[in-house]
């Protein structure tokens, strides 16, 4: 196995474990993970609401989760019993998921794997583009029928 592919698989597995653990541990419902793929296009894979974490230190890049409102609303309902969350709640939920997933991976990369506070947005922001030197891969997932993407870009 060449180093690039090995690194891709190792990194993918770390993020998949973090993603699976998040949903299973907090909701008791297992998420279905699709086949991860490397993204070649410069455009982002986005649903309606996205939470993004910037990564600096020994690895540089980003991780984001993107899903439609219904997935975040379902999670919020489980966590605090609110049936009609505000847009602010939905964005907060997106940011918190991305924060926990990036933070979980830090256990493997060490304390020089620095993560930012979440950047959250609705829809497709025009100013966000992948840096050319970053390898980007997409992990598609489903939880309770809701589709989402975890997208990881690391130097």
């Amino acid at each position: 196995m060449d180093t690039k592919r090995e690194d891709f698989e190792t990194t993918c597995n770390l993020f998949i474990q973090a993603l699976e653990n998040y949903f299973k541990h907090l909701t008791d419902v297992t998420s279905e993970i699709g086949v991860p793929f490397i993204k070649e296009s410069e455009t982002l894979s986005l649903k309606n609401f996205t939470g993004l974490i910037g990564i600096s230190g020994n690895r540089k890049g980003f991780v984001y989760i993107s899903a439609d409102k219904s997935m975040y609303a379902d999670l919020i309902n489980i966590f605090i019993g609110i049936e009609e969350p505000t847009t602010e709640d939905i964005l907060d939920m997106a940011g918190e998921i991305s924060n926990v997933i990036a933070g979980s991976v830090r256990a493997n990369y060490g304390n020089n794997f620095n993560i930012s506070v979440p950047i959250v947005f609705e829809g497709m922001p025009k100013q966000l583009k992948f840096p050319a030197e970053v390898a980007v891969f997409v992990i598609p997932m489903k939880w309770k029928g809701h589709e989402a993407f975890l997208v990881v870009g690391l130097e």
Partner: protein, 121 residues
């Protein structure tokens, strides 16, 4: 006992509040960053504080150092996504009484607070 909840996620603050409802804790405030938390600590002297680490304006470790200077008897429980051991040890070294890695569910919170509050009796 007076409780202060500090986390930049509003959903997380409300989740903690909901799950600690069974304890005899009066929630005297919530804060979304370290600066806001310190204002509440100075004014209301909470007995117990849940404290996130990755927050805007002032991170949780800096906030913890300040809390220990102005209100050293506060029992601080760190609840963070930063899952490396060094961060946990650093927080304990600076005066935190407990440490939890996110994702944190109701059972995790209960176990940790049973331990924290029992130790306090």
């Amino acid at each position: 006992m007076k409780l202060l909840i500090v986390d930049d996620s509003s959903i997380m603050r409300r989740t903690i509040e909901k799950n600690l409802g069974d304890y005899n804790l009066e929630i005297i405030g919530t804060a979304s960053n370290g600066n806001a938390a310190l204002e509440i600590v100075k004014e209301k002297k909470p007995d117990v504080i849940t404290l996130d680490i990755t927050m805007p304006e002032m991170d949780g470790i800096t906030c913890l150092e300040n809390i220990m200077e102005i209100h050293p008897s506060a029992k601080v429980m760190i609840i963070t996504a930063l899952s490396d051991k060094l961060t946990g040890l650093k927080a304990l070294d600076k005066g935190a009484r407990g440490f939890m890695y996110k994702p944190v569910n109701a059972e995790d919170l209960k176990k940790a607070f049973d331990k924290l509050l029992k130790r306090q009796e």
